[in-house]
């Protein structure tokens, strides 16, 4: 009973997702809307501005360092949450 309802709901969701995915731009074409002038600037002038051969590392450390700092904050919060949920209050239950 539970499996039938789950399969029905997932089939509906999957059908709508598949129709959406079919309307997306073709996979791998160079005229994708995601390859705009931001990527051109990162690829062409990444080496001379930063000295990094690895463009992904240059983006993460030099161009968009604020995102990396936010993610380190997320890691720190996760560690605090794990320790707090585990050690907890001494003497409770």
């Amino acid at each position: 009973m539970k499996r039938a309802v789950a399969i029905l709901v997932l089939a509906l969701i999957g059908l709508s997702l598949a129709v959406t995915v079919a309307e997306m731009p073709t996979f791998g074409s160079p005229e994708n809307p995601t390859n705009n002038e931001v990527t051109e600037r990162y690829l062409h002038q990444g080496l001379e501005e930063t000295g990094n051969h690895n463009i992904v590392s240059a983006i993460l450390v030099e161009y968009r360092a604020l995102d990396t700092f936010g993610e380190l904050t997320v890691l720190f919060t996760a560690i605090t949450a794990v320790l707090a949920a585990y050690i907890g209050f001494k003497g409770a239950d």
Binding site: I13, D67, V82
Partner: protein, 119 residues
């Protein structure tokens, strides 16, 4: 209709949607708590696959600047997905810590029995 041939061109996106459905089915039907966490991880992996496959360029190489290659893959989704992977690891760690505490309190890992105990 012309939906099926265009779906066959974007087969990477279709694989991501299938992985998402498999993860959701695992999370919905198994009563074990650890299997639900595994289903959550599969759903997160499918989202990463979709976002990285958007940035692919035909015949491109890895985005490491070297004198021989001319066409590079789009490096921007790679940098954004790294943050997402770290967030997925954090969610899994916290969920597992909570599961250990639940096991010590109730003595079982089956959600049906836990719901019966709480009534």
């Amino acid at each position: 209709m012309e939906l099926i041939p265009s779906l066959m061109h974007n087969y990477y996106y279709l694989a991501a949607v299938l992985l998402f459905l498999i993860g959701a089915y695992t999370m919905l039907t198994h009563p074990n708590l650890i299997k639900k966490v595994i289903g959550l991880n599969i759903m997160e992996t499918s989202v990463f696959l979709l976002l990285v496959a958007i940035g692919y360029v035909e015949g491109g190489n890895a985005p490491i600047v070297s004198p021989e290659t001319h066409v590079y893959v789009n490096p921007l989704p790679h940098a954004l997905i790294l943050t997402g992977i770290v967030i997925a690891v954090s969610i899994t760690a916290f969920a597992l810590a909570l599961i250990v505490k639940i096991y010590h309190h109730y003595g079982t890992l089956c959600t049906d029995q836990i719901a019966k105990m709480r009534r």
